[in-house]
């Protein structure tokens, strides 16, 4: 009996230990939430299914595979926000360039039947520039071409040309030169500017009046700012063309304001990089009147005046207006219909086959000189009055610059470098080569000519060659604040001895005076007697 009980006990013990072991195997792992019992079950079932050879050797790999197969991918509830890459954004902007406009397209093409089509053939220009070793690359030229087409369609332009590209620190500028059709020009903000000036003048007058009412008026400043040189009207001189700017083809074109002579003279004295934002302020000495858009426009004007050239004979002057003796500065030219191209080797050899076709900017900052000393009523730009005024001795000398269509051989040298370098694009096939002219004064300005076709372009930083170093101008001597006069000049206070001497002298004087008076009285009394 006891043996049977003992046996049952042992069995129960065994069952108990088996149950403990099973319970142990069923505990979930803390890391992976799996348990050993299920894993072994699955492993053995897989073994039974697959029956691999050499099972004992591959058992570890199978075990790992079984574990890996259990991984369930759970979608997290976070969803990635749609992130448009910059390429995508740019492509969307530039897509408009590639789509055709609306029905107005066909009509515009018929309307622009003037001799010179408004849109330039930028692909052709790009090809020749590539031959010359200058340019922006085909893809970019093509996009600029389409952007120019968009510009021509949106604005009433008679004539448009790719002027070039100016590099900046944060972004670059692509610049187009354009000319409005006759009569299509906008009034601009000239009315706004004059209204502002009037308002400023009024406030100044008010301030002066209030000052005069004070009992002790402050000394008036005798500083008169030098008279402002008036800017040239649109379509003449420096403002002959209108310039549009965009950062990348596809972005909207921004029109640059016209340039004033003060901005040109300031731009001549400073040397700054462009940042790429049109509204950035220019911190410099002498202070530049305007922001980066004005500085850009001033540099464009200087570069155009200095480096836009054409083969001689391409342009000719219009009909002669009057006497040939009068030195009328000519400012207009027209295309010469009889122009036959000059052979390329000649263009490369001598600089006299190239001429400037943009007016030189005078010291004043304009192309036509204006006499500032003239009184406002008599101010006129006619030839006769200017001649009369020249005869007076105190009138300033009129500034004269080289006239239009002067050949390049007369360009002055600067810092011991000749102003131009010529190259031929290929020495091997010289009959089809392109003559290239590179400016040394404005590094980045190029011109090419091939037969009857020529073009100017500027690709660079927008800075003039300054020789070895640039010296910023020194600020002027600080002015005296008040005009020195007896009221405010300091004088030493009299010392004690001097005061006593003065007093003594005064007393003597008084005593002498009294004596005189006494004597007079005595004499009078004497007379009376």
């Amino acid at each position: 009996m006891e043996a049977r009980g003992g046996k049952q006990d042992m069995e129960q013990q065994k069952l108990h230990t088996a149950a403990c072991l099973k319970a142990f195997m069923l505990t979930n792992s803390t890391k992976t939430n799996l348990n050993l019992y299920d894993h072994l079950t699955r492993l053995l079932m897989r073994l039974m299914d697959e029956r691999p050879p050499d099972a004992v050797d591959v058992i570890e790999d199978m075990s790992r595979d079984v574990k890996r197969a259990l991984f369930v991918e759970r979608q997290s509830t976070l969803r990635a926000a749609p992130h448009t890459a910059a390429t995508q954004r740019l492509a969307e902007r530039q897509r408009l360039l590639f789509t055709r406009g609306e029905e107005g397209d066909q009509e515009d093409e018929l309307v622009a039947t003037a001799d010179t089509p408004a849109l330039p053939n930028v692909s052709e220009v790009g090809f020749y520039l590539e031959q010359a070793g200058v340019g922006l690359g085909r893809e970019e030229m093509q996009r600029i071409f389409l952007a120019l087409k968009q510009l021509v369609e949106s604005q009433p332009l008679q004539h448009c040309r790719l002027w070039g590209k100016i590099l900046g620190i944060e972004s670059n500028y692509v610049i187009a030169e354009a000319e409005y059709r006759e009569g299509e020009e906008e009034e601009e903000q000239s009315t706004e500017e004059t209204a502002e000036e009037e308002r400023e003048a009024e406030t100044r007058d008010d301030e002066e009046e209030s000052e005069a009412k004070e009992s002790n008026p402050l000394p008036q400043s005798t500083y008169k700012p030098p008279p402002v040189v008036p800017k040239e009207a649109n379509r003449t001189g420096v403002n002959k063309f209108v310039y549009y700017v965009c950062k990348e083809p596809g972005l909207p074109w921004v029109k640059l304001p016209s340039v004033t002579p003060a901005q040109i003279t300031a731009a001549r004295q400073i040397r700054k990089f462009f940042t790429g934002r049109l509204d950035a302020p220019i911190a410099s000495y002498p202070p530049f009147p305007g922001n980066e858009a004005n500085y850009l426009r001033a540099q464009i004007a200087r570069i155009s005046a200095g480096t836009h050239v054409s083969p001689q004979g391409f342009y000719q002057f219009g009909e002669e207006e009057g006497d040939e003796e009068e030195a009328i500065p000519r400012d207009s030219y027209e295309v010469n219909p009889d122009f036959e191209g000059i052979p390329v080797p000649e263009m490369v050899e001598s600089l006299s086959t190239w001429v400037h076709h943009v007016q030189h900017i005078l010291q004043q900052g304009r192309c036509t000189w204006v006499n500032l000393a003239a009184k406002p009523e008599e101010e006129s730009y006619e030839e006769g009055d200017a001649e009369e005024k020249e005869e007076e001795p105190d009138e300033p000398e009129p500034e004269v610059g080289p006239s239009l269509l002067t050949p390049l051989s007369e360009d002055a040298e600067l810092f011991h470098t000749p102003p131009w370098s010529t190259r031929i694009s290929s020495t091997l096939t010289s009959q089809y080569a392109v003559a290239v002219l590179r400016s040394n004064l404005w590094p980045g300005a190029h011109a090419y000519v091939c037969g009857k076709k020529f073009e100017n372009i500027y690709i660079g930083w927008g800075l003039k060659f300054a020789g070895d170093s640039y010296n910023p101008s020194v600020p002027p001597v600080p002015q005296k604040e008040y005009p020195s006069g007896p009221e405010i000049t300091e004088a030493l206070d009299p010392t004690l001895e001097e005061e006593e001497m003065l007093n003594a002298a005064l007393e003597e004087q008084q005593a002498a005076q009294e004596e005189l008076d006494d004597m007079d009285e005595e004499e009078e009394e004497g007379d009376d007697d």
């Binding site: 900046g168 040397r271 000749p418 170093s469």
Partner: protein, 234 residues
Amino acid sequence: MLWGKIFGINADYFIVQGRGEDELKDKKNLYSFNCVDWFLLPPATDAMIEEVSKAAQGRFMGDPSFKYEHVETHRQGGEAEAAEEEDEVTIKVSEEERLVVTIHQIDREVSVVPRGAFIKSHGLIQTNRSFNGLSHSEAGKLHNFLHFTEPKNLKKKSILEMAYLDPSIDFLDPLSDDTPKGSWSLQFECGSNVCVLRSLLWLGLTFYHVPMAPQHGYIYMGDGTKNLDLPFML
């Protein structure tokens, strides 16, 4: 590899650079006018650098035998009689020497590589074959680009900064340490497909890198004149 082009007044030089085992130190430069006939340039020595910096001014002429002259006068014995015993030392430098020194200076001051493109193994500097390019966000930061010359500032960094660096790839100076700050222009072109770095100190040096790709390179196309007015222009 094509190193670049230096524009002279009468002719332009095409410059090509060859690299040896150690990319940093074994460099040989050759120049040509028509890309067909090449001439080897001697390596730059300190004496040459000094002479050139005194004598050569202005633009390159385009003629390798052109001589730049510089006359230095040393006055000795300055008593009542001045202008006596002047020793005139004329330093003559040929344009070829000026070319050598200019290339050396440009390489030393503005050659750029992205961080991770070169590794230093056993003291030799070699290209990193597993360089996959910088990411878009990394390519927008200047400190991920390094000067490709002997490092000058590396030892001066504090230990805190050195903790972030990896000695096998950070053995060169980063660009963000350049003075004056802002002498590099970093731009993304083609809708951030290409990152372009332009140096404002040597106008004409352009470096490009395609993010997420191992393509990078730099080229110098310019006058060969250093822009000393940089602080005024920023």
